[in-house]
C-alpha cells in the first residue's frame, strides 16, 4: 500500500529548479502556504493520536485508508512550495491548474473525511491533481510519463495514482467558473489572515476553467512545448 518509489531520491537525481523565480505565479505561494498549514495540522493530529495510543499502534492506522495509495514510506524532503514550483517550471501548465488541483484535493477530503492530507501523501496528491487538472484544462500538456519524471515517481506509479484519484473523485472533474472563483477568494482570504494581501492572477486563470472556456488554445500544431528536460 505504501508508495513504492522513493520520491526524494528520485528527485535528487534530477536537476533542481532554480529557486523561485520572479515569474512564479502568486497562486503557488498562496497554495503552498495553505497546504503546508493543512499538512502541519493533520500531521500533528496523527502525532497526537500516536501519543495517545502510546505506541500500541500507529496513529496513522486510525486514519482512513482512501489515500493509502498516495502514502510514501517517509516524507520527501522537498518542501511543498519547492515541489509546486518544480511542477510549474517543468510542465508549464497554466496557473489555474493549481487552483483546480486544489479543488480536486478538497473534494477528495470531503468525500473521504477520515482521510487526511499529511506529509506522507501530499506530494503524490499534488502531482496527481495538477496533472489531472492540466489534462482537463490545458490545450497543451505533457503526458503522464513526463509528469512522473518531474514529480519523482515512476510512470507506472503515477498511472496508478491517477486512476485511484479519478475514482476517488468519482469522475467529478467539472469545476464551474463560479466554484473556481470561490476557491480563489478562499485562498486569498487564507493569505489575508496571515497578514499578506495577495491576489491570485485570475486573468490568466479564469480563462482556463471549463464551463466557460476550458482552453484558450487547443492542440494547434505550433504549440508543442519543448520536449523533455534531459
Amino acid at each position: 500500500m505504501l508508495g513504492s518509489g522513493d520520491l526524494t531520491s528520485n528527485l535528487s537525481r534530477q536537476s533542481e529548479p532554480s529557486p523561485s523565480e520572479s515569474t512564479t505565479p502568486r497562486v503557488l505561494t498562496i497554495l503552498s502556504h495553505v497546504i503546508e498549514k493543512l499538512v502541519a495540522r493533520n500531521d500533528k493530529l496523527v502525532d497526537d493520536m500516536d501519543k495517545k495510543l502510546d505506541g500500541v499502534s500507529s496513529g496513522l492506522a486510525r486514519v482512513g485508508k482512501s489515500l493509502n495509495v498516495f502514502h510514501g514510506v517517509r516524507a520527501p524532503n522537498i518542501s511543498i512550495v519547492k515541489y509546486l514550483e518544480r511542477l510549474y517550471k517543468y510542465t508549464s501548465c497554466s496557473p489555474s491548474c493549481f487552483v483546480v488541483g486544489y479543488v480536486y484535493i478538497d473534494r477528495l477530503t470531503h468525500k473521504h473525511p477520515d482521510s487526511l492530507v499529511i506529509s506522507l501523501n501530499v506530494h503524490r496528491l499534488l502531482v496527481t491533481s495538477v496533472m489531472v487538472a492540466s489534462k482537463m484544462l490545458d490545450d497543451v500538456h505533457y503526458n503522464n510519463a513526463f509528469y512522473a519524471r518531474v514529480g519523482g515517481v515512476s510512470n507506472a506509479e503515477l498511472n496508478r495514482l491517477e486512476m485511484e484519484f479519478l475514482f476517488l473523485l468519482d469522475f467529478g472533474f467539472v469545476v464551474s467558473s463560479r466554484v473556481f472563483e470561490s476557491y480563489c477568494s478562499h485562498l486569498e482570504k487564507e493569505m489575508m489572515i496571515n497578514g499578506a494581501s495577495q491576489r491570485i492572477e485570475r486573468a490568466i486563470v479564469s480563462n482556463a476553467v471549463d464551463d466557460v472556456t476550458e482552453l484558450s488554445v487547443e492542440d494547434t500544431q505550433s504549440s508543442s512545448p519543448p520536449q523533455g528536460m534531459d
Binding site: 468525500k111 482537463m136 490545450d139 505533457y142 491517477e162 479519478l166 468519482d170
Partner: protein, 517 residues
C-alpha cells in the same frame, strides 16, 4: 468510497462511479471491436437491464488515462437529454491476476475500465445501409428533428460535438435517436475567441472553415455535418466523399460554389485560404443538383450547407424550419418500424465465414486450373485475414472509396487513447502532428493501422497519405451495422488497388436506398 460502519446501512448514498465491478454485468456478446478495445452487449445481473459496455483502452502507459475518455466522461456527466447518449456509470474489473495466496492482487483496475452506456440497437449509418432499407419522409423528418434537438441541447450547454456523423447517431427500437461519442467534444465560449483545433470532424462531414484551417469556430461546424447527413438521407449516399482535405474542399466547392469575400466575408483571412482557394470560378449548384428534393427540404439544406459559418442556420432555427411543420409531418418515434438488431461485428463474422468458404472454393478451382500458378501470397492470405474485419461484408466495389472503415457503429469505433489514431492526422509528411499529448498516438495510429482500406466510413483525411486508408479505425470499427448493401460478389478485398477508386458518387448505395422526393 465511504463504507458504512458495521451495523449501519449506507442508505442515502448512491453507489459512486467505479465502485462497482464489471462482474455486476453478464456479457452477452461482443458487438464491437476496435483498436481501443471491445464493446459488449451485457445484462446487469441485478436488474436484467441490457447495456453496452465500452472498454477504455489503458495500454498506453505513457499517456495514462486516455484524455478522450476523461473528456467524454466529463461532458456526458454534465449532459442529460433524451437525444444524448446516457453514460450510466463507470465500472472496473480487477482482472485475473491473483497473488500467491490466490487472492485478487488488490489492483482493482487491472482488468480494465468500462463505460456503461444505455444499449442502442442501431446507428444511423448502419440502419441506412441495411439491404432494402428505405426511409420514409416522416421517418427522415423524425430522425432529423431528434438530431437537431439533441444538438441544440449540446449547443446551449456550450458543448461542441465535433464528430457528428451517421455512425455516431445511435437509434433504438423505440425510434429514439441519440448523439453519441463525445470523445472529440469540448466546451466552447460564445465569443469565439478561443483557438481550437481544426483537426476535428470526420473528413466527409467537415465544414469548409475547418478545411481552410480556421481555429476560431463555434456550433456552426456541427451544423455543417448535420447538413451533410440530411443530404445523405435524402440523396441515398454521402454527398462529399473526399479522400483527402484538398479533394474534400473541392467537392464542397463544386456543389456549394467557390467562396469569396462576397459570399463569405473574411474568408480570405482564413489561414490556408490562399493555398487552397479554388483555381477556377465555380458557382453554387446545390439547388440544381438536388432539384428533385422536396422544396422545404431543399430550403433547409441550403441554409445548413451555407459556406459562411456565420450565415449557417443554427440548430434552434433549423427546428423551426418549414420542413418540420409541413405535411408529411415528422412521425412519432414510437410509430417507426422496429428493425432486428444487427451489429456489424456479428454480421461480419457470418459473412466472413461465408466469404472464406467461397474463396476457398474459388482457390481450389484456380489451383486446379493452374497447377503451378499459385496465387501471390498476399492475395491468398488477404482473403480472410482476421484483422480485416471490415472486409467480409463489404467486399470492395470498384467504385468504393479508398477509405478504411466500414460504417461503424459508435460503440465499436476504435478510438486510440488520446485523440485516437487518425483523429489528428499528421498534416505533413512525418510524425507531423506535434501535440505532446497526442503525438504519440497520432504517429502510431495514423495510416499504420492494421486495417486495410475498405468500407465506406469516411477517413479523417490526410493529404499526406493519398490512397492509403487514412483512418486507422478502419475495419476495427467493426460494430457498424452497415455495409451489407455492398454486393457479395465484389472483387475480393485482398486484391491490390481494389477500391482505390475515388468516385464515390458512383457507388451503388442508391440502388437500395431509395431516392426521397
Amino acid at each position: 468510497m465511504a463504507i458504512a460502519a458495521p451495523g449501519q446501512l449506507n442508505l442515502n448514498e448512491s453507489p459512486s462511479w467505479g465502485s462497482r465491478s464489471v462482474d455486476c454485468f453478464e456479457k452477452l456478446e461482443q458487438i464491437g471491436e476496435g483498436t481501443y478495445g471491445q464493446v459488449y452487449m451485457a445484462r446487469e445481473i441485478k436488474t436484467g437491464e441490457i447495456v453496452a459496455l465500452k472498454k477504455i483502452r489503458m495500454d498506453n502507459e505513457r499517456e495514462g488515462f486516455p484524455i478522450t475518455a476523461i473528456r467524454e466522461i466529463k461532458i456526458l456527466k454534465k449532459l442529460h437529454h433524451e437525444n444524448v447518449i446516457n453514460l450510466k456509470e463507470i465500472v472496473t474489473s480487477p482482472g485475473p491476476e491473483r497473488d500467491e495466496q490466490g487472492r485478487p492482487d488488490g489492483n482493482k483496475y487491472k482488468g480494465g475500465i468500462y463505460m456503461v452506456f444505455e444499449y442502442m440497437d442501431h446507428d444511423l449509418t448502419g440502419l441506412a445501409d441495411r439491404p432494402g432499407m428505405r426511409f420514409s419522409v416522416p421517418q427522415i423528418k423524425c430522425y432529423m428533428r431528434q438530431l437537431l434537438t439533441g444538438l441544440h441541447y449540446c449547443h446551449v450547454n456550450q458543448v461542441l460535438h465535433r464528430d457528428i456523423k451517421g455512425s455516431n447517431l445511435l437509434i433504438d427500437n423505440e425510434g429514439n435517436l441519440k448523439l453519441a461519442d463525445f470523445g472529440l467534444a469540448r466546451s466552447f465560449s460564445n465569443d469565439h475567441n478561443a483557438n481550437l483545433t481544426n483537426r476535428v470532424i470526420t473528413l466527409w462531414y467537415r465544414p469548409p472553415e475547418l478545411l481552410l484551417g480556421t481555429t476560431k469556430y463555434g456550433p456552426a461546424v456541427d451544423m455543417w455535418s448535420v447538413g451533410c447527413i440530411f443530404a445523405e438521407l435524402l440523396h441515398g449516399k454521402p454527398i462529399f466523399p473526399g479522400k483527402d482535405e484538398p479533394e474534400q474542399l473541392n467537392k464542397i466547392f463544386e456543389l456549394c460554389g467557390a467562396p469569396d469575400e462576397f459570399n463569405w466575408p473574411g474568408v480570405s483571412k482564413i489561414p490556408w485560404y490562399n493555398n487552397l482557394k479554388p483555381t477556377r470560378p465555380m458557382k453554387r449548384r446545390l439547388r440544381e443538383v438536388f432539384r428533385h428534393f422536396d422544396r422545404n427540404a431543399l430550403e433547409l439544406l441550403e441554409r445548413m450547407l451555407t459556406l459562411d459559418p456565420s450565415e449557417r442556420i443554427s440548430a434552434k432555427d433549423a427546428l423551426d424550419a418549414e420542413y418540420f411543420w409541413t405535411d408529411p409531418l415528422p412521425c412519432n418515434p414510437k410509430s417507426l418500424p422496429k428493425y432486428e438488431a444487427s451489429h456489424e461485428f456479428q454480421t461480419k463474422k457470418k459473412r466472413q465465414q461465408q466469404r472464406q468458404h467461397e474463396e476457398n472454393a474459388k482457390r481450389q478451382k484456380l489451383q486446379h486450373q493452374q497447377q503451378h500458378g499459385r496465387l501471390p501470397p498476399g492475395q491468398q492470405s488477404g482473403q480472410a485475414h482476421p484483422q480485416m474485419r471490415s472486409g467480409p461484408n463489404q467486399p470492395l466495389h470498384g467504385s468504393q472509396p479508398p477509405v478504411a472503415a466500414g460504417p461503424s457503429h459508435h460503440y465499436g469505433k476504435p478510438r486510440g487513447p488520446a485523440g485516437g489514431p487518425g483523429r489528428y492526422p499528421p498534416s505533413g509528411t512525418s510524425g507531423g502532428y506535434n501535440h505532446p499529448n497526442r503525438g504519440g498516438q497520432g504517429s502510431s495510429g495514423y495510416g499504420s493501422g492494421p486495417y486495410p482500406p475498405q468500407g465506406r466510413a469516411p477517413p479523417y483525411g490526410s493529404s499526406s497519405m493519398p490512397g492509403a486508408p487514412p483512418h486507422a479505425s478502419g475495419g476495427g470499427s467493426g460494430y457498424g451495422v452497415g455495409g451489407p448493401n455492398y454486393p457479395q460478389g465484389g472483387p475480393p478485398y485482398g486484391g491490390s488497388g481494389a477500391g482505390r477508386g475515388s468516385n464515390m458518387m458512383g457507388g451503388n448505395r442508391n440502388q437500395q436506398y431509395g431516392w426521397q422526393q
